[in-house]
Symmetry: C2
Subunit: 354 residues, 2 copies
């Protein structure tokens, strides 16, 4: 099933309940807008593209739950819900953007019945577009892999971060679909353990041979020659490195990505970044990207148990920058690019998309 979808029988939103991972792979039905908002807040659904679909389906859900004699009263009620949905996680851009798009569709509808139909149709098309994009990334990337390869990945750039298929893991799924057996080595991905908790779950769910290793062991796997490609996603890609990285682009991704890139480089293993064009920031330089510093408790405690002195100073950055000189292939929905990237072409593509 998709990470998030519409249940036509129960006329509500259905999602994989990621708070139950890795113990159980189960679904949760959000029958009300309040339940949907609570699901976003508690991370039952997470990952930028999946949150975009959550925002879209959420407004469609609101459109079906409200009733009024006058359209304006009805539209106001849905708009209030849409705002609450958009604010469920304030920094999730996709969430608010897609919620607003669907709300706009509602406001342009001629009747309540039409609004209900049009909002759900748009939500579906937003979800479908994500899957289509990921499948394109997957198919382009799969061409880089051979039957029997082993891919190392970091964090979760998989189906469970998107509506379906995923970006980095989409490449693995597309390879399988093309009858290439590709195994995966998943890094645990401290401090939030997405590799252990999420990536392994979706890989096993799809019958991909998977080995979980601590982040510390990735160097040994590369040194031993047990990895044919390192494939990761990206949180943001900039095309100018600024003071630190010069005129090359830079990939910002989950902390630890840089180390894997350096190790892959040392052992001549291709380092592949898979991400949609929407991830490419054509305006900022690397100097202008702020790296989120997360709460020290993520290291001082693990699953509620004390892991370090309660008052120890902690460094806990969420991302690190990997310069394009370490990236062998950038895979997007439009194809495979080998750095150095043609900055002008990406800027032009972004302008056309806008």
């Amino acid at each position: 099933m998709r990470t998030i979808d519409w249940d036509h029988d129960r006329d509500c939103v259905v999602m994989v309940d990621q708070t139950q991972l890795p113990a159980t792979y189960t679904t949760y039905h959000a029958e009300t807008v309040a339940q949907l908002i609570e699901s976003i807040r508690t991370l039952r659904v997470r990952g930028a593209p999946a949150l975009g679909a959550a925002g879209a389906y959420g407004v469609a859900l609101a459109a079906r739950r409200h009733e009024a004699d006058e359209f304006a009263v009805y539209a106001d009620a849905v708009a209030a819900d849409a705002e609450a949905i958009a604010n469920a996680r304030p920094t999730a851009v996709n969430l608010s953007r897609e919620a607003e798009r669907v709300l706009e569709e509602l406001e342009n509808s001629a009747s309540i019945d039409a609004a209900r139909e049009r909002t759900l149709r748009l939500a579906h098309s937003i979800a479908d577009a994500d899957v289509e994009r990921n499948r394109q990334i997957g198919d382009h990337g799969a061409a880089l892999l051979s039957d029997g390869d082993t891919v190392m990945t970091h964090c979760n750039a998989g189906a469970l971060a998107t509506v379906d298929w995923g970006t980095a893991l989409g490449i693995v799924y597309s390879a399988h679909e093309a009858d290439k057996r590709v195994d995966v080595v998943a890094n645990e991905t401290r401090p939030l353990n997405q590799g252990a908790r999420i990536t392994t779950v979706e890989l096993l769910e799809r019958d991909v041979e998977t080995t979980l290793i601590p982040d510390n062991a990735s160097g040994l796997w590369l040194q031993r020659g047990d990895v044919d490609a390192v494939v990761v996603g990206a949180d943001r890609i900039v095309l100018e490195g600024g003071e630190q990285f010069g005129d090359q682009g830079v990939v910002f991704n989950k902390i630890g990505t840089y180390k894997h890139a350096v190790l892959a480089d040392r052992h001549d293993v291709p380092f592949v970044v898979a991400a949609p064009h929407a991830t490419i920031d054509t305006e900022r330089t690397a100097d202008e990207v702020e790296i989120e510093e997360r709460d020290p408790s993520e290291l001082r405690e693990i699953y509620g148990t004390q892991n370090a002195p309660a008052d120890v100073p902690v460094g806990n950055p969420a991302f690190d920058p990997t310069p394009m000189e370490l990236v062998d292939y950038l895979v997007t929905e439009t194809g495979v690019y080998e750095p150095p990237l043609d900055r002008a072409a990406f800027v032009e593509a972004a302008e056309m998309a806008a």
Copy 2:
């Protein structure tokens, strides 16, 4: 206080209770041989040199607890205890070696009173020799550091793995004693979190400015230029690399060490290995060193909470090999050596020590 010592008032063994870390820094008194054995088994005391002292003090404790009319009966009773102590952790070579040394001292004594005095004296001298060796390592290594430097370390090669002072962290303590302020960045060191649980505790206890980071962040720290040296211990050093590493030596240390060495190399930060000569295996090649594979549960669960699917295949090697081409300085109790190492000199030193 020392990690393990003799309490003269209570006439028993006293140790830092490492099972209480990081929550509380407290001591445990082993008044009986049974309590000492239980302390070794439950890892109240751990680390090869500290276990050597535990074995030595343990036999001294047995020598004080037993009583008999005949020396032979007395000696047999202590010998039975010594065997039990030596077997408390079967693969800990230091533990059985030092227990046997002290038992031999007892067997060469003329009376029970003499045995009690001589065994305790020898245990003290074994503990003192460890501290003296570590202080020499510390002093030699501290000469490599400057006032204001920041050192990154991995795992715990500190006072709490030895009787006192430590090897890698001994360099930091010696620098402080020489009025050089040196701060430390401690890697968490998954999967057993020794950096978080143990290293930070002893550094804060000694007023060293400490920052705990996830292993994944060490690359970012080096990339940013926030580290002046990476200093680690060693579990075993071989002088011949064998098929994989050729004629250079290889350092086997906690999993993740290799990654830090590669990153330090990329950023021209000195990579320092601190270890006593006893760690240098002059006979084996790197090919002949087996890397211990540890239990999958260390990744599938953290502190008893499920971290990954219960049946996910796991790779969990305890150590990785770092070739000497990545090591800038090897610091032992006899001085600082810059690889490539003079193999013949180390073999000769080992033969003289034997």
